[in-house]
């Protein structure tokens, strides 16, 4: 799609997208949240959700020990569960992760581009990305320049994504829209398309550092965007919901949303991810409950 030739071309394109009615989108998300997922369907959903988790730690206090234990958990969550999709860390911890997950299907994702604010010059952001890729990151989670987006400098945002994409090389690029700062679902839809036409492999809701992070309505709008992009003959872009998803029940609601919005093609760790830290243990607890018929408790889950 060549709509990225100029600011005005981008503006015409993005503002020509169908509007989103906030009340209607919230209603639809709420209706889907009411789906009842039981027995076999729940078993399937729990394992699918586990295999979609980007097990994440993004704290100033992250240490090699903490990250090693996270990697071990991602490889073998325990209780017979499948491995998580990826671990997601700051760039300096990538080498350690690469070593810790070697030989497993777990991918290494690194945030970059002056995460979480994105407030750095482009060359610094690109250096950030290149160093993470050089260290072996399989996936890069970049943040967009929300200031540029909100002031209408769409070309600036687009060029930055394109530049980061080319710096990624083989690594898959997740573009964080930080929808909590965009204000409206209309803006979330425009940012989704802007990221997609600029080369994103994934569009991601949030950094997890801003509230609200992932919500069902905003994820609904992003799923509609990837569905429509694919239906228009373009490539299949993934969606990552990140931040605030803490319970198995919530995770299953997101899977229902994916199933009934984008469709079953997206029910695959290559096209849908959940960025979370504490969620995995709740998924495991529910999994144990499904197997034994009894509720487990947090004391039986590891702290990683």
């Amino acid at each position: 799609m060549d709509v990225t030739s100029s600011d005005s071309a981008l503006r015409r394109f993005l503002h020509g997208l169908p509007a989103v009615d906030e009340a209607g989108a919230r209603d639809r998300a709420q209706a889907l949240a009411g789906r009842s997922v039981k027995s076999d369907a729940k078993r399937t959903a729990l394992d699918l959700a586990i295999s979609m988790v980007d097990l994440t730690t993004l704290e100033g206090q992250d240490t090699p020990g903490k990250v090693r234990s996270l990697c071990a958990k991602a490889r073998r969550p325990g209780h017979g569960a499948p491995p998580a999709a990826a671990v997601c860390v700051y760039p300096d911890l990538v080498p350690l992760c690469v070593e810790a997950v070697a030989g497993s299907p777990v991918r290494v994702a690194s945030v970059a581009t002056a995460f979480p604010s994105g407030r750095a010059p482009l060359d610094v952001k690109l250096a950030d990305v290149k160093s993470a890729v050089a260290a072996g990151a399989d996936e890069i989670d970049m943040v967009i320049d929300r200031g540029a987006f909100l002031s209408g400098r769409y070309l600036c945002v687009s060029e930055e994504i394109t530049a980061v994409k080319s710096a990624c090389g083989e690594a898959r690029l997740k573009v964080i829209l930080e929808t909590g700062e965009l204000g409206t679902l209309d803006a979330a839809r425009r940012a989704s398309w802007l990221a997609m036409v600029s080369g994103a492999d994934f569009i991601k809701t949030s950094t997890g550092k801003v509230s609200p992070a992932a919500t069902l309505p905003v994820t609904l709008v992003m799923l509609e965007a990837v569905r429509d992009f694919s239906a228009a003959g373009e490539r299949r872009v993934g969606v990552k919901a990140a931040g605030g998803i803490r319970t198995a029940k919530d995770a299953v609601r997101y899977l229902v949303l994916v199933n009934e919005t984008a469709g079953e093609e997206w029910l695959d760790p290559r096209y849908f991810r959940i960025g979370a830290s504490s969620l995995l243990n709740d998924l495991l607890m529910q999994r144990v409950r499904m197997e034994t018929g009894r509720y487990s408790g947090p004391d039986y889950m590891t702290v990683d």
Binding site: P18, G24, G34, S36, E224
Partner: protein
């Protein structure tokens, strides 16, 4: 990856069905002369035996209502009447699950709808009108408006409990007593409501419920002891009632059929509009008098809206109404299924192109897949007559004025929908659409504070809101002595 939801049926154990139900007259259940059976439209199993109310039964019920009106209800201060209504509202909310399960068993609508829409709204109607009972002097109908007397009320099968609430709550709040006839195919929640009246210690005779068929309904609306008739149902039956009471001096309100236009402009929020189209016509299997059964879509976006609509229709889950994930339940009766089937066949024979969602229909029970017709001539009966089923006709327009003309070109005028991002266009359309309710960027949304009713052959009178009170008050009375509004 394929993700099938496992069956998630709501338990029926909360409902205690009796083998047979009598008539509710003078505060207790009494037997009548003959009986009929009510079945579950999803399985065709017989649920219970229901008493068929005859002439004597109607006489008894009207007499009980008259007695209660004169001795108790019309002389009771409004604030006391309000207490009973609040009590009923709370009991409906407390026993919501029981009502929802029973409604779904008897009507065939999905449990999700009876649980999330019918029962909560029924309770809300009683709460709303309970609040009016001691404030009628401030409703704008003079300082002490009077009740009318005994109301004869006949309700349809599409929202059995909700229509009961729409009828009984305002009548009681205004100081009238009632004789209500539920629809022949859906009497069970009315009988459970009778139990709630007993539980609430409502004075005997204030609410009387006489079950039966169309003949029972005719006996009731033709009864000389009735002061006010309220009917919701088909336009044909409404016309018959209007003729019958043309010279009787009885007050009448009619809420009849519809063929509502749902208008989608090119700047509409498409994904939400598609949800609104679905909700407009497939909510409650299209058994909705205000259903958005005529889709008018601006030609420039028609193809993309239609593609999105078909994709969404294909994802609708049709089947066991008791399953919490079911979107489309059973057609209420074999008779209604036959009507829908023959209307659709007639549409195809006239050359309209039919598309039905590819969903498997259960073997037992009454089912019809969500269906739309394109290439429909405006003159075709499928585009003009109320089908009262999950059947949508699609046509296009070029300009707002053409949309308006097409939307208004119907003998009905109950509701309409407008989808646009432009507020001024929505308001302009709303002011020129000849319909009792106009929804902008939503559809089939109800609230007890909002009046509902029709233009033209959709009937007259309003239900709900301050406007709805007028149907149950003698607003021209000048008697200042006052019998009821001593608040």
């Amino acid at each position: 990856m394929r993700f099938e939801y496992a069956p998630a049926p709501e338990s029926r154990s909360v409902v205690r069905l009796r083998d047979s139900y009598g008539l509710f007259i003078g505060g207790s259940f009494v037997s009548g002369s003959s009986v009929f059976k009510t079945i579950s439209p999803a399985t065709e199993e017989v649920l219970a035996e229901i008493t068929h109310g005859g002439a004597e039964d109607v006489d008894r019920a009207v007499a009980a209502a008259r007695h209660a009106y004169e001795r108790t209800w019309s002389v009771m201060p409004g604030k006391e009447r309000g207490k009973y209504l609040f009590r009923i509202a709370r009991l409906l909310a407390e026993r919501a699950r029981e009502f929802a399960v029973l409604e779904t068993m008897d009507n065939g609508k999905p449990i999700r709808e009876s649980r999330d829409v019918d029962v909560p709204l029924a309770s809300a109607h009683f709460f709303y009108h309970a609040g009016w009972a001691d404030k009628l002097g401030y409703a704008g109908f003079g300082p002490s408006p009077k009740p009318l007397g005994v109301a004869g009320q006949v309700i349809p099968w599409n929202f059995p409990l909700l229509m009961l609430a729409w009828k009984i709550a305002p009548a009681l709040a205004c100081g009238n007593t009632v004789v209500l006839k539920p629809a022949e195919t859906t009497p069970l929640t009315a009988m459970l409501f009778a139990e709630v009246c007993q539980q609430a210690d409502l004075p005997p005779g204030v609410v009387n419920i006489v079950t039966g068929d169309g003949d029972t309904g005719r006996l009731l609306v033709g009864h000389p002891g009735i002061d006010k008739i309220a009917f919701t149902g088909s336009t044909a039956a409404g016309k018959e009632i209007a003729r019958q009471c043309a010279v009787s001096g009885q007050r009448l309100t009619l809420e009849l059929g519809g063929k509502a236009a749902n208008i989608v402009f090119d700047d509409a929020p498409v994904d939400q509009a598609v949800e609104g189209i679905i909700n407009g016509i497939f909510f409650n299997q299209g058994h909705v008098c205000c259903a958005g059964s005529r889709l008018l879509v601006q030609e420039s976006v028609a193809d993309s809206v239609l593609d999105a609509l078909k994709r969404r229709m294909a994802s609708l889950r049709l089947g066991d109404p008791m399953d919490k994930n079911t979107d489309i339940g059973a057609i209420n009766s074999r008779g209604q299924l036959d009507k829908i089937t023959s209307a659709s066949q007639a549409g195809e024979e006239e050359g309209a192109r039919r598309w039905s969602a590819p969903c498997a229909l259960p073997e037992r029970g009454f089912w019809f897949p969500p269906t739309l017709f394109t290439d429909v001539a405006s003159s075709s009966p499928v585009a003009r007559e109320e089908i009262f089923g999950p059947v949508l006709t699609v046509s296009t327009f070029r300009t707002p004025s053409e949309a308006l003309q097409k939307a208004n070109a119907t003998q009905y005028g109950l509701s309409a929908g407008v989808w646009t991002s432009k507020g001024s266009l929505a308001l302009e359309m709303a002011s020129r659409l000849r319909a009792g309710v106009v929804w902008a960027n939503t559809f089939n949304r109800f609230d007890p504070a909002s009046p509902f009713g029709g233009y033209k052959e959709s009937g007259f009178g309003r239900e709900g809101g301050r406007h709805g009170l007028e149907a149950y008050l003698d607003v021209v009375a000048t008697d200042v002595a006052g019998t009821v509004a001593d608040v």
